[in-house]
Symmetry: C2
């Protein structure tokens, strides 16, 4: 990577950073390009030099963010694998990785949740791709667990994956928004208990 393009990378990173915060706080339509440029410490012209439009900036932001998340989930699953852990342990590790990600990028998560189920939006198809990328990682581990006999074959993989993702997503966002004082370990312990069936008993 030459110095020119890394300079561009840096500018784009500043714009992502500014946009993600503002859009998480206010929503896409309520956020102006002037605001994004100002927060990024960059001229408005620079935004349009680096991105075709406001919408395209947002779409690339989504791709960029979910790429990080999926990588982090996969990393957690693989590491458990390498250490000879069970697939249920891998799920637990992924829950923690999810919490760490949300803790580090709360704005991105907020924005993702706010946009995911909207219909009729320009970036609808981008979101579908990006969602599948994340959910697929969870589904893969669930399927493996079933194949290895760690989990009952009666489990509904897609629905269970959704439910697990939702559990982590909502608990983490609530933690960030309304229960800041709790530690990551507290939150992880509560979710882990639910995963391992120590809530509703057996």
């Amino acid at each position: 990577m030459d110095t020119q393009s890394s300079r561009r990378q840096a500018t784009r990173a500043k714009l992502y950073e500014a946009a993600v915060t503002l859009i998480a706080e206010q929503g896409f339509s309520a956020t102006t390009v002037d605001e994004i440029a100002e927060r990024a410490g960059v001229a408005k012209g620079t935004v349009y030099y680096n991105f075709k439009s406001k919408t395209e900036l947002f779409e690339e932001l989504l791709r960029h963010g979910v790429g990080l998340l999926a990588a982090s989930l996969r990393e957690a699953a693989d590491q458990t694998e390498r250490q000879g852990g069970t697939r249920v342990e891998a799920l637990d590790a992924m829950i923690r990785a999810g919490l760490v990600f949300i803790h580090r990028y709360p704005a991105f998560t907020q924005l993702y949740v706010a946009e995911l189920w909207r219909t009729n939006r320009a970036w609808q198809s981008t979101l579908m791709v990006v969602r599948q990328e994340a959910v697929a990682v969870v589904e893969a581990v669930l399927t493996e667990a079933v194949n290895r006999g760690e989990l009952s074959e009666e489990i509904d993989v897609p629905l269970t994956a959704s439910a697990l993702v939702g559990m982590v997503l909502v608990a983490a966002l609530d933690w960030q928004a309304f229960q800041r004082e709790r530690s990551l370990d507290d939150v992880h312990a509560a979710l882990s208990r639910l995963l391992h069936g120590r809530v509703g008993g057996c």
Copy 2:
């Protein structure tokens, strides 16, 4: 109720109905008052005759919707109580009630999720109140379950409540958006299994 005020009620209902769909699809800022009026089949002026502003219309919509949800959850819990069910059974009934509600009012749910964790918004305080109303019902049943010895005292009530709500919310929205063909019973069974610990096994 005289003819005048029932006419107003009808107009307001039409406006709620129009607004909830449009805002769920497009978001608050991207939805114009002209669109809402047109979809409701009234003139723009009528919106401002019935509501102080676009924001106030939205806030009253939120209050109205969460009122319905909280009532429906409480109803499920109470009915289980009356039939002598355990508190864990009550939680299961509430999960189903939640799914039924989301199935009936998907647009409202979408919109609630999209706005809940936004900061710096005008209706922030309305949302806090409204969220508490719904979460409190779940927390109450969890606390009762702990008091009666049905659940371990080590359970973290607020976090577990968040996680349960998130599980239902995300699974239901994913069901509506991406897996329309599944039946309510399928979804309920998958969530119930998670609640009763038949996923991570004991």
